[in-house]
């Protein structure tokens, strides 16, 4: 089977936006053209080949080009010669009697009638097409954000889920905000849309006050953004139920990727009545969801009774003073790196 090399043709495609808004503000280190905010579904240049067009399922639209959204498309898993769509369920390519092709997801959707010629679809797989696709290499969908890499189909998806150039998700805790973008954009979004407090500086001294701490609703939380060292950090403070009862947790996340997060350290301290609890660690990246960091207990956790004890007074009101600071400290490549598998 010959492999076809890719001919890059410039053609413009407009991408439909079906998953919510996606914005960029001017990027600081990405080579590609910046896109102004508030434009939905920016247009972009795309590389296309005639072979690639052959692989396009006539029913489900798919786009291999950035940006933005996970539009469903079929790809190929060479180990099983199966067509693998965007959401990782196994699929195949089928032929109708006239030779028109269709992916298996769509085969079900069209009730076994070829959408091109209305003939009945059998169970004939198009192995040749599957093999051709397997040899096809395409750029990462984030290429216009700077990713220079090219992948065969079956590894492209995996790369894209981890690509360092992919946009970040809004780090706001609480209901899942679907906004994505680069860091400067997300900082403005947090400030303007979520009304999050912004602080400049690397030290903090907060008092968390709650007059009736008995009413700990699950996941009551607060977020503050700190700007220091030319970077942004999210300080989360939460009250929630942990198997053992109500707890308060404070932790820091870095607005950037994991590798850069490891060049920083932070400490948090609570205390009172001759006792003091201190936490020191590396901030997690906002690539890890807020829930994931919270559930890994990777931060300062205090049981409510101890928090009330630290609050002093009659211990009926929560008046917890949390102090902390952020500094630049390179962790060794091994430390701060191991996020244990907590699934078992």
């Amino acid at each position: 089977m010959e492999t076809e090399s890719m001919d890059c043709e410039s053609s413009t495609r407009s991408i439909s936006n079906d998953n919510g808004t996606y914005h960029f503000s001017s990027t600081k280190n990405h080579a590609a053209a910046a896109v102004v905010t508030n434009i939905v579904g920016p247009t972009t240049t795309a590389a296309a080949t005639s072979v690639y067009e052959l692989l396009e399922c006539p029913v489900c639209t798919f786009s291999m080009y950035p940006p933005i959204h996970q539009v469903k498309f079929c790809s190929f898993d060479s180990s099983s010669l199966a067509v693998v769509p965007a959401d990782d369920t196994t699929q195949f390519y089928y032929l109708c009697h006239n030779g028109h092709t269709l992916c298996s997801t769509c085969k079900v959707r069209v009730h076994n009638r070829c959408p091109t010629c209305r003939q009945e679809l059998g169970d004939i797989r198009c192995l040749a097409l599957e093999k051709v696709a397997e040899s096809l290499e395409l750029p990462c969908k984030y290429y216009n954000l700077g990713c220079p890499e090219i992948f065969p189909y079956y590894s492209k998806l995996k790369h894209e889920s981890l690509c360092n150039f992919r946009p970040y998700s809004c780090p706001y805790a609480g209901s899942e905000c679907g906004v994505v973008g680069d860091i400067p954009f997300l900082v403005s979004h947090l400030r303007d849309d979520h009304k999050v407090d912004m602080h400049a500086g690397s030290t903090f001294n907060h008092r968390y006050v709650k007059s009736n701490p008995r009413e700990v609703e699950n996941a009551t939380w607060m977020l503050t953004v700190f700007q220091c060292f030319g970077q942004y950090f999210c300080l989360h403070f939460e009250a929630f139920q942990l198997g053992m009862g109500p707890v308060y947790m404070a932790f820091l996340r870095f607005m950037g990727d994991e590798e850069e997060a490891r060049s920083y350290s932070y400490s948090l301290e609570v205390g009172g009545s001759g006792r003091k609890l201190t936490w020191e660690g590396a901030p997690r990246s906002i690539r890890d969801s807020h829930r994931k960091v919270r559930d890994s207990n990777d931060g300062l956790i205090i049981q409510r009774n101890m928090a009330l004890f630290f609050s002093g007074g009659d211990r009926k009101e929560l008046k917890l003073r949390v102090t902390g600071k952020i500094w630049k400290e390179q962790h060794s490549p091994d430390s701060g790196l191991c996020i244990p598998d907590l699934s078992s």
Partner: protein, 214 residues
Amino acid sequence: MEPRINHLQIESQVHELLDYPVCTNQITSTIYQCSNDYTGEVNNDKEKPYNCPYSGSKCTVTGDIRWLLQHLRNDHHVEMHDGRSFSHRYVHHNPKHLHHATWMLTLLDCYGRQFCLYFEAFHLKKTPMYIAYMQFMGDEEEATSFSYILEISGNGRKMTWQGVPRSIRDSHKTVRDSQDGLIITRKLAMFFSADNTNSKELKLKISGRIWREH
């Protein structure tokens, strides 16, 4: 179980049973006997006897500090460390098998006094936890003249607890249930234990020191 001997007219064969010489002055002594058949004598004049701080077993021995230290060393085989600072590693190859209220006790000797360092695995409403704390072998008043720090570190993270040692007048269970120490979930303990090998072993490095505040 606790024979009260008012007079000290001891027959010779009874005398042999006793490890300690019985004092022959007129002051009444009370002799205590624990279920392990160890006997000891307490001089009631000085201060109220302390309960043996060795938790877990049903040891009901009481006595003064000096006597308890010997008892802990000889009968419970507890280790004694000299010095104000220490560093221990608690290792368990399968921490899920650590039962509720598994614990370890180490003794520390400094400032002419002794301290008990406890490390325990327990369940708090079904959540597996670990707690480490110190208790002072002496009364409450003197206990408050000390402070201690416990530190757990690993995997680029560190948690530090600074506290005041509770007197052993408080049972170890009281202190544990009040969570007056360095307390972490097992999840977090696994975080500290994590390394590149992806093993599920518990490897907690706990270090600390004691100092006198006034």
